[in-house]
Symmetry: C2
Subunit: 595 residues, 2 copies
């Protein structure tokens, strides 16, 4: 055989009579005695190849072939007759009458079948990731991921961005999440850190005058993992000089709508909707609202005043708020037991309980109905647009507890009762985030985004006096309830950066020690600059309609940050540790245990 | 001011009369009292802006401006008169008559000037890397680097490659260079390793059926650094299934010649020349020959036999070789003292000395001339194409010593005597490398490329019996004497891989422990596959005409793997070490020292 002439999936009836050579995997084998059919698969798709008694030599080889054998076949494209056309298959109008076959490699029986849907457990899929990735489903994801990065690179190149690489072996900084450390062999007792983001370097590139930088870059966080977290993740990292918030937002909208057009052929209307952080929290109880459905949180402070319900009164008197949520038609959807269980659901958000009411033709029903006189009941129903059959839930506490608990409840109902339009791609900008958040554990303010985020100009004067009131010139891009990314204009003047570090509780000395080089850089003609970072894994997950980040990463880690395929992390040799001047505390090495 | 309308460097005489807004850095300021000129620079270039007494307000601001201030200026494009046209400047036909200026940020005096050439020491340049990168020279390098990666990505996309990311937190393997390790917080006493290359993962992607993979990817080696090494480096990583050596080489030639056309407008003839490893060593004394000049190593075994020179006889009798090098016209280029010093130069290559002869009109002159009778002298001159004025050097020892020492001498002369055509881009494939090399320190064979390289089919039978004779189906791409990259067809059958590990001295158990998952993968229908990895930093260095890798990396490390800008690596907090269950051996922490 001389060499592959076609991909399996690109064969069609116009090629009738043509001699072709294919290479690929055997998806399926049907042995009808004197005739054998193989479905041969490659990256492009499937085609049926036929071995007939005319060619006993080929037939004998075909008899030995099993699923997932790698074969090269030569043969002729033949139109199938009407009856045997397979309309489910792209190449179903034809088949290949084989003249020659070579087995390039054999295969043992597989731990699971190579099919779109698999019932293999995720652990098995991860251990045999190289087989899991053969499934057409996964092949599609990585094709989509490639198309996504290619589109973004083309777009940013068109916009005169330079792709510039920043270091992976960098310095541990005290802000943000926990760093992964890399011990230095040369510098005794010193460590590099893997970057949580190239934030400082991309800002330095602006100081260098590159003006438009991008990188699709690996970042690292040594945090306890959740379903939508991985220890290493990829972000589309963008930074620009002399470009304000409006210009950057416009450009990102062009990029994302262009991407949706390219990947799904969908026209996404621009400009995207915008909402302030405060409004997002008030209406949706989330800083990343899923706007694919309604069921907003309704302000009930006025109504609450006219009731006798102590929980409401107490919340209002201590500066909190009362909000309600209307699950339309919910009275018949949830049993009393299920409703009671919801009190547990809201507890992690700080809620002490979950008040509720059913709306019936006769009026409100439920444990707290008695606190609502006729007028209060009417006001409530008007406010919540409630009618018979609806189920109403209430939060009464300090603002963050009410917002977070009802926000979570809203999402739960949205998913459970299928209120979400799954075809929609709802982009949303959440603007004007708070600059700082109070960290109860650390007893100090921490940066809501990162310590280089610029305050809004009009709030700048509050940075020294009332830092909690300062809003940031920061914006998150939200898609379907997921934070796709976040950006901001950055601080570019040394005195502002010094004030920021002070607000974060850094002594002058500590700030100089950790970020001295950046503060110094600010003194040599730093341009106004800002940027954004978008999570690529999550973007691909949403574009591919998946709900697990692991399905978008070729070789992901488990929730305990293990790679089940290679068994990383693993013990290393004593020599390696000695080279690094390190010893492991409090653990016998398995090789010592063996002695 | 509303927003930038143009880049400085794109202004030209056709825009005469137009109102423009520019943003950039002040390159230079000339104050003529009532008129001030500023050269304003942005990423695109320079333009002269003029402040006249007509606008006292702007003039007053311009008086405050210093070099590297960041400014926004609004003004009108005006043609310069004939006399003041600056032909050295792309925008030299025009200037901007300023109506408004805003200082966006100030700058202290710089540690060095922002000019194409700088005499600042490299340490200062690295400490103030953000300023060094402002120099037009460096801006050009990173523009070229961006264009290079963009071209490669476009090319590979066109060839239906998918960009697929592989993990950075992976497993330490015993082969190859020293790994950088990353301690795991979750798995007590375990470590990840940063990849030296994505070799195993890209092969697994072939097992997965992706067929064409590429990635421009960071790799890591914890080795002692040389001028052309960095602890982290970037490679263009490529792997293909069902594509033989010839097809891959053809594709790489298209890619590299296309790149040269794009970057420098040069037509590189294809196919590139090919040479076997053996021939490269014999003719050039190097496995990465610089073919931009001649002065090849000449086989003198026959001539040597007819001389009485013991050193030659001994070399031949003990299975070695005699080779010569002719430095044309060298007799007048090197003094006796300089010639003698060359003995020291070849010592690191194992040579015990360096024999030499001058060719004069009267015949050969020099310490060993006496060993050549008239006939031997004539044969020698013929073999070395020697004429009066030439200087001849000889190597007589085992093959590797002769080749390496004369090869190094050849390169030294080539550079010193300017024999190299610096305009040329000479690509060369070096084919059929040995599969294994004997490691004197480890007392065993090690893989010349890596342990997954396939033997040549015709040498496969020697793998068990005479492993040192086995040639690999491996090829290096050489450009101007630098190894640009290396590739090979890979082993894809389990039994061959097992033999290979055995030849490398692995016990069956050790091979299974380290590479078991790969050997298992080979049993599930692994296609024939092969690929190549090209060093991007080096590629950019050669394209940009630089001779230091650090000039091609935005934030490089020094020879001691330090980042002089951020001071990485650095000590970390005790808490961070405790989290990782690590302690540093034999070193007081600086904070303890302070106590």
């Amino acid at each position: 055989m001389s060499g592959r002439t076609h991909q399996c999936g690109e064969l069609h009836a116009q090629l009738e009579g043509q001699q072709v050579e294919l290479k690929g995997w055997v998806q399926r084998r049907r042995d009808l005695g004197q005739v054998i059919f193989l479905d041969v698969r490659d990256r492009s798709g499937l085609v049926q190849v036929v071995f007939s008694p005319d060619n006993q030599e080929a037939l004998a080889i075909a008899e030995k072939v099993r699923n997932e054998y790698v074969v090269a076949v030569t043969g002729t494209v033949v139109k199938r007759n009407e009856k045997t056309i397979n309309e489910k298959l792209a190449t179903g109008e034809i088949e290949i009458h084989v003249s020659d076959i070579e087995i390039l490699n054999a295969s043992k029986s597989l731990p699971f079948q190579i099919e779109a849907d698999t019932d293999a457990s995720e652990d098995v899929r991860l251990k045999y990731r190289y087989l899991d990735l053969r499934r057409p489903d996964m092949q599609e994801v990585f094709k989509l991921r490639h198309q996504t990065t290619k589109f973004i690179r083309d777009f940013l190149d068109e916009q005169t961005f330079y792709e510039i690489e920043t270091p992976m072996l960098t310095k541990s900084t005290p802000e943000g999440a926990r760093d992964y450390l890399v011990p230095s062999r040369v510098h005794h007792g010193s460590f590099y850190a893997l970057p949580q983001s190239p934030q400082i370097f991309k800002q330095l590139l602006m100081v260098s005058g590159f003006e438009r930088y991008y990188q699709i870059v690996r970042c690292f966080r040594d945090e306890d993992l959740r379903a939508d977290r991985q220890p290493e993740f990829t972000q589309v990292d963008i930074e620009t000089s002399f470009m304000g918030t409006e210009e950057l937002i416009l450009m990102m909208e062009q990029m994302m709508s262009g991407l949706l057009k390219k990947i799904h052929g969908i026209d996404i209307p621009t400009p995207f909707k915008r909402i302030s952080y405060d409004e997002a929290m008030n209406r949706f109880g989330s800083d990343k609202p899923d706007t694919r459905f309604g069921m907003e949180l309704i302000d009930l402070n006025e109504v609450a005043k006219s009731t006798e319900f102590k929980v409401f009164q107490n919340a209002l008197n201590s500066g909190g708020m009362v909000k309600g949520l209307n699950l339309k038609g919910g009275a018949s959807k949830l049993s009393r037991k299920e409703i009671d269980a919801l009190s547990e659901f809201v507890k992690p958000y700080g809620a002490k309980g979950l008040a509720w009411l059913k709306v019936e033709e006769e009026g409100l029903k439920g444990p707290i109905a008695k606190f609502f006189d006729e007028s209060a009941a009417a006001s409530l129903q008007t406010a919540l647009d409630a009618e018979a059959g609806d189920l109403l839930f209430f939060g009464a506490d300090k603002a963050s507890v009410v917002q977070n608990s009802l926000g979570a409840l809203r999402m739960k109902f949205g998913k459970e009762f299928d209120l979400i339009n799954k075809e929609a791609f709802n982009f949303l900008w959440v603007m004007n985030f708070p600059l700082l958040e109070y960290d109860e554990d650390a007893h100090r303010f921490v940066a809501a985004h990162h310590p280089f985020t610029s305050p809004l100009k009009e709030d700048m004067h509050l940075l020294g006096s009332e830092p909690e009131k300062v809003r940031a010139e920061a914006y998150d891009l939200v898609l379907n309830g997921y934070e796709l990314g976040g950006g901001s204009q950055r601080i570019y003047k040394r005195d502002v950066q010094e004030k920021m570090f002070k607000a974060l509780g850094f002594t002058e000395e500590a700030a100089r020690e950790e970020f001295g080089f950046l503060m110094e850089a600010f003194e040599y003609g730093t341009p106004p600059h800002g940027g954004i970072a978008l999570g690529l894994d999550r973007m691909v997950m949403l574009l591919a309609g998946k709900n697990n980040l692991r399905d978008t990463i070729a070789f992901p880690k488990t929730a305990s940050a293990s790679d089940l395929l290679t068994n990383a992390p693993a013990e290393v040799s004593v020599e390696q540790l000695i080279d690094l001047n390190l010893s492991v505390i409090g653990k016998k090495r398995s090789e010592e245990v063996k002695l």
